[in-house]
């Protein structure tokens, strides 16, 4: 099993790198949106939606995009920039599959307008690995088989990365015995509570908890 995962890993990453290449094209050239606007403009009865220029820093790269004001951060990542690692599950902030880090904090990318993130540093699942090394939370998910179908996994991992930082910063949780005291250890109960914004329809929760516990102990 580990052998097989090692083989599939690079294939996935190659795909993601392909996504990044598309990104550059979309940014440098004219994305679908612009030509669609031009086509619509030929119809005298329809007013083209004005677009907004937004400068985002995504995975340590400055990227300028032009978006319809209605575009969520999630749709910008997926549809405009080809970064499809962040998933659209419910599109209403209930499932957590779209979780990304904004200035180091986890948010639901589906419940945020891209236009509101001018200048923000955004880290997606594609940007967690550094120098060819998986992020420790990514490695722990593989080691503990913390998924089944994998659809919620990018959101679970991004959420866990930020959650571990919150715990390190001493943030209490709903299950902390005394919010006034420094939180005790990151028990399984604490991990479950702190990760309740990420659902897994395959119910791989036991292994997700094991992976996060392991990553917490190693960091």
């Amino acid at each position: 099993m580990p052998e097989k995962q090692k083989e599939t890993g690079p294939t996935r990453r190659a795909l993601l790198e392909g996504g990044a290449a598309t990104t550059m094209l979309l940014v440098a050239g004219l994305p679908v949106g612009r030509s669609a606007v031009a086509a619509v403009a030929a119809e005298p009865t329809v007013t083209p939606m004005p677009t907004l220029p937004v400068m985002l820093n995504i995975n340590a790269r400055n990227i300028a995009v032009e978006v319809d004001p209605r575009t969520t951060l999630l749709d910008t990542l997926r549809n405009h920039l080809g970064l499809t690692g962040s998933k659209k599950g419910c599109d209403h902030g209930q499932c957590g599959a779209c979780t990304v880090l904004v200035n180091g904090r986890r948010i639901n990318a589906c419940l945020s307008l891209a236009a509101m993130h001018e200048g923000d540093e955004i880290t997606t699942i594609e940007g967690l690995a550094a120098g060819g090394e998986l992020h420790p939370v990514q490695a722990a998910f593989i080691e503990h088989d913390g998924f089944q179908c994998g659809y919620c996994t990018p959101g679970q991992i991004c959420s866990a990365v930020a959650m571990l930082r919150e715990a390190k910063d001493g943030w209490p949780s709903h299950v902390s015995a005394d919010v006034g005291a420094a939180p005790a250890a990151l028990t399984d109960t604490e991990i479950r509570e702190r990760m309740s914004g990420n659902l897994c329809r395959c119910a791989a929760y036991p292994n997700i908890i094991a992976a996060i516990r392991d990553a917490a102990e190693r960091s």
Binding site: E166, S173, V179, R192
Partner: protein
């Protein structure tokens, strides 16, 4: 989603003027509720004024010994604030009982107060809802109303206010500060911010169009221990069936003072003066707490699916008071 134009605001006066000048303009901060409703075409603003970067993001002590919370302080920052955790732990507890880690990182203090109800009929545009469409009727009255209000509601709307944070703020006698288009400021007791539905379920607060919440002020914390207890269908990330914020000050086997507010039972955070007055100066015992809790919600009315809430609320009041008094 309906088309809209967007502007980022750099100062409060500019933001207020920008919204006041356009009837279909709205403030947006965290966006976790507004954007959700815009996707469903329930909210249809034509212009959004982004106030999330206004310099209203501080939690600072007041001269009176209280705390001033900027309207743009995120729910997660407020819950983790050392001053809140040590002096107003009930506010941290309430915030941490609500939403998810991701949403608390975005949701603002002002936005949390102004979030809309989660009544399923408000969310379903195929169903009649007086809040969404005045005069349409209320599908919840004879519908699936397990989550709905037992007090403060009307024949036109039985939706509840969903905030946990506001329940803690109500028990702490918080005041909500606003700035109006003319530059006037006012300070509104939190209990007076919300309007009961009556025959105008679509009118939810006393705020005028363009009036913006700038912050919330907490008076010095009252004496006594503070406990927030939330009862819900799931252990985490669910709205309250009933929640109770209780503060009780004891001396030996007597109660000196008590404060109680409830969530999940009414269109706004609901204080229980009947309970508070019975407990002031009473004996501290299980029986005294039970009798006082029985006095809560004297005019409560169930609508079938939510009848259970009346007993559940009284029992949760008793339990939460006992926990605050360290009897359990």
């Amino acid at each position: 989603m309906q088309p809209f134009t967007y502007q980022r605001s750099e100062d409060a006066a500019g933001a207020v003027a920008a919204v006041a000048g356009r009837p279909a303009a709205r403030f947006i901060s965290g966006g976790t509720n507004l954007l959700d409703l815009m996707k469903l075409d329930i909210e249809r603003p034509q212009h959004l004024v982004d106030i999330s970067r206004l310099p209203l993001d501080r939690v600072e002590p007041t001269e009176e010994g209280g705390l001033h919370i900027g309207a743009q302080v995120r729910n997660s920052d407020l819950a983790a604030d050392p001053g809140v955790r040590s002096r107003y732990p009930i506010l941290s507890q309430a915030l941490l009982a609500g939403a998810s880690g991701q949403i608390r990182n975005k949701a603002s203090t002002g936005g949390n107060l102004l979030q809309r109800t989660r009544c399923p009929y408000f969310y379903d545009s195929n169903m009649p809802c007086n809040k969404r469409e005045p005069g349409a009727g209320c599908a919840a009255l004879r519908g699936f109303n397990r989550m709905h209000a037992v007090i403060g509601a009307s024949d036109s709307c039985i939706a509840v206010h969903p905030s946990d944070m506001a329940v803690a703020m109500a028990v702490l006698d918080a005041r909500v500060e606003t700035v109006s288009p003319g530059g006037e400021t006012r300070s509104i007791p939190l209990g007076d911010l919300y309007l009961l539905p009556g025959t105008t379920a679509d009118e939810e607060t006393v705020l005028a169009h363009g009036e913006m919440i700038t912050g919330v002020t907490l008076p010095p914390p009252p004496a006594g221990r503070q406990v927030y207890r939330k009862v819900r269908d799931r252990a985490s990330y669910a709205f309250a069936l009933v929640s109770v914020a209780a503060i009780i000050e004891t001396s030996g086997n007597r109660v000196r003072s008590a404060r109680v507010a409830m969530g999940g039972v009414a269109p706004k955070p609901w204080r229980a003066p009947e309970v508070e007055s019975r407990l002031a100066g009473s004996a501290l015992s299980d029986q005294a707490l039970s009798e006082a809790a029985e006095a809560a919600l004297p005019e409560a009315v169930g609508h079938g699916g939510n009848d259970f809430k009346i007993r559940l609320a009284k029992r949760t009041v008793r339990y939460t008071l006992a926990a605050a008094a360290e009897l359990v």
